[in-house]
């Protein structure tokens, strides 16, 4: 049952991602991106990472993409412009490299060379403690320093938004 759901969601998210790239209308592109995000959130749920799933939707689908849409609509980019191919020389090498990369990935997956290490947090353990609690615990013990430095990061970003975008300082 979970495997079926995985395949469906994976297929939908990849399809949406493809549409996102090839869609001419930016509003639709943004909507496809939202669809991809939601599908990924479902994949997280299937991995029993409910916290990440919820945050994925709140942050990406709920906040960032709304701003995306907001800007696109404000600029009213719905006129289908004749997009001319600015990078004609890159097309063929890009396709070629893409095929090479794809085959390489397939070969690696098939060769069973992948030997990732099993982490210490098993699904059973995560579920017994609770997803959110575990993440909170780690943030305030092992990863306290990066967590706190993030505040400087956000502060800098806020300064930047004002510096670069405010009309009159």
């Amino acid at each position: 049952m979970e495997a079926y759901l995985f395949y469906i969601m994976a297929a939908v998210s990849v399809t949406a991602a493809v549409y996102l790239v090839f869609e001419k209308n930016p509003v639709f592109s943004a909507l496809y991106l939202i669809q991809t995000m939601v599908c990924i959130a479902v994949l997280y749920i299937l991995l029993e990472a409910q916290f990440i799933a919820a945050v994925q939707i709140i942050v990406y689908a709920g906040a960032i993409m709304v701003l995306f849409l907001f800007v696109i609509m404000l600029l009213n980019l719905n006129i289908k412009e004749e997009t001319k191919n600015a990078l004609p020389f890159q097309k063929i090498p890009a396709i070629f490299m893409g095929i090479v990369l794809f085959t390489a990935i397939c070969a690696v997956i098939k060769s069973k060379l992948l030997q990732g290490k099993q982490g210490e947090y098993t699904t059973a353990y995560v579920n017994s403690v609770g997803n959110t609690k575990l993440i909170g615990n780690l943030l305030f013990t092992d990863y306290l320093l990066p967590f706190e430095i993030t505040s400087i990061l956000l502060f800098v970003a806020a300064i930047g938004a004002i510096m670069l975008a405010k009309r009159k300082l």
Binding site: V27, F51, A61, M73
Partner: protein, 331 residues
Amino acid sequence: MNKDLLVYIVVASIKIFLVFSAVQIMIISMIWLERKIMAHMQVRLGPMRVGPHGLLQPIADGIKLLFKEDIIPQKANKLLFLLAPVMTLVPALITFAVIPFGDKVKILGHSVNLVITDINVGFLYIFAVSSLGIYGIVMAGWASNNKYSLLGGIRSSAQMISYELPLGLSLIGVVMLTSSLSLVDVVNAQAKLWNIIIQPIGFFVYATSAIAEVNRCPFDLPEAESELVAGYHTEYSSMKFAMFFMAEYANMITVSAIAVTFFLGGWHGPFLPPVVWFMLKLSACLFFFIWIRSTYPRLRYDQLMHFSWKFLLPLSLFNILITGLIMVLKG
């Protein structure tokens, strides 16, 4: 298929059916009640013709909307135009999945939780779902291909993002006190004392931003009829308009249910059965919405934004700080 799973599916379906019908009935009665209450507050009578005291008015309205011509503007983006009302209504309804409306009851030997599902990230689920509600309005505004609609859509996206922050942060205090994100735990923790007493600032911030979040008066700028000709749903007619209408009421019921769950003790209360208490508190919240609407004038747009970013957001952060401090000091 084993028996437990079967029971689970049956029970869940029944609960979903019951909750959804209850919400639908509430929406219909809300439409009538709002008109009646507002009328009496303004010393009018309100609808009187259809049925006793206009009781059948919502049904008449529904029939009228159903039979009206369904207009899709020629230059509108058809797919999004059709999708938008659905996208507004669905998030409002599915939030109810995690709201507990009663204590455990025993039916045919099975202990049944009166909540559709109790998940350990219920709090986050509510926000995840409610943050998706914006898209319906934004899509409606854009797809209509109408300047007023677009302005309404843009306004509402800015407004809802701005108010989502204090809305979320105001509940953090409660979550800190409960130390759980499950709504069932939140309600259980209020058996003795309602959170509104311990978290008055949180409740104030929540109540204010909840009104803004559902685009109700005095924060109803996205559909301000005097400047935007009804904003994002200018071009909508017939059932699609009705869906927006329903979504607005469904949203009101949802945020009221959250308020009841987080601040007003959920289904706890003496003498009466839990479900009745829940409904009573919910009705009180909904009455509050109507009361506010008939009392306050609409804010100006810049006032709205300043109020959120410069007052509510710092206030909610302050609330978290105070809550944390007291929790640490009390040990």
